[in-house]
Amino acid sequence: MSQPEILNQAFELGYTYTRSTGPVVGRFLTGLKNRKLVGIKASDGRVIVPPMEYDPDTAEELSEFVDVGEQGEIVTFAWVKEPREAHPMNEPFAWAMIKLDGADVPMIHCVAAKSEGHVTSGARVRAVWADETIGFMTDIRCFELV
């Protein structure tokens, strides 16, 4: 019995979810649409960005929104040498924990930089907004070094 050719076929399985944001994340995304960053004040006074719905310590419902800056400071980062299809950038970039001005907790986003050597902990960065904002995380295209 001769072995026939190897059969290959590409196929895609898609789950087209639409997710409800809830009022807190919805407020954050609405802020992005208006090119503003908003956090929330936790019971211990920390400002958390993106805002959380419940307090991380007491589990109480949170509601005190606080505007934060579109600039901040890199706390830690990881350089991506070879971006993959799902990544937000085609060129090498950094995933970074960014503490925005007025926030007490860093937020993850991507940082555009010429090379790994340009990115350091403590470097100042600024949000680069998308041409068209729709109320989604990608409304911030990336952060750039200041």
Binding site: P4, L7, A10, E12, L13, Y15, T16, T30
Partner: protein, 172 residues
């Protein structure tokens, strides 16, 4: 309500796409190569003699490889069925339609396919059916070479004999 509240974001599109490249193993490749020739090919277990289709290359009961290829009939018996009344997204077939598990003559297991050219309310377990094939020049490596199964004017198969007929449709 302020202008800002009116345009409050309440939902986000969050699709997940899983991109696969499916490679058929040796047994499914044999099966697909044969269906391209218009042949339903099963494989027989060397131990319990059960004939499987589509073939997986092993017997689930005995845990041994199946090698012997067996050509099956395109006549089959309805083992179970369901009338689909609700449209399925992206499915071009308009309900109501029938999905049936059919056991081809010579096999001991069923596979799933469509039924048509039938009165939906008259479809029943044990009903005899036959494959309606696409034109030969449209055959590919696909179960879609069979458009659907249609009823045959033959006596019903008693439930205890479903999945036990020989390739010529006789009691095994």
């Amino acid at each position: 309500m302020s202008e800002e509240e009116q345009e409050m974001i309440t939902k986000v599109e969050a699709p997940v796409y899983l991109k696969y490249n499916f490679t058929a193993g040796s047994a499914p490749t044999r099966f697909l190569a044969q269906i391209k020739n218009g042949v339903l090919a099963g494989q027989r277990c060397p131990k319990c003699l059960a004939v499987y289709i589509p073939t997986r290359g092993s017997c689930g009961r005995c845990g041994v490889p199946t090698v012997e290829e067996v050509e099956l009939s395109d006549k089959a018996t309805v083992q179970s069925f369901t009338i689909v009344s609700i449209p399925i997204p992206n499915n071009p077939i308009e309900p109501p339609f029938i999905i049936a598990n059919v056991v081809p003559d010579g096999a001991n297991v069923s596979f799933i396919h469509l039924m048509s050219e039938c009165v939906n309310e008259d479809v029943h377990i044990g009903q005899r059916v036959q494959a309606v094939w696409k034109p030969e020049d449209e055959w590919g490596y696909s179960m879609d070479n069979i458009r659907y199964f249609k009823p045959l004017d033959e006596p019903d198969v008693p439930i205890e004999l479903i999945g036990k007929l020989t390739v010529t449709g006789e009691e095994g």
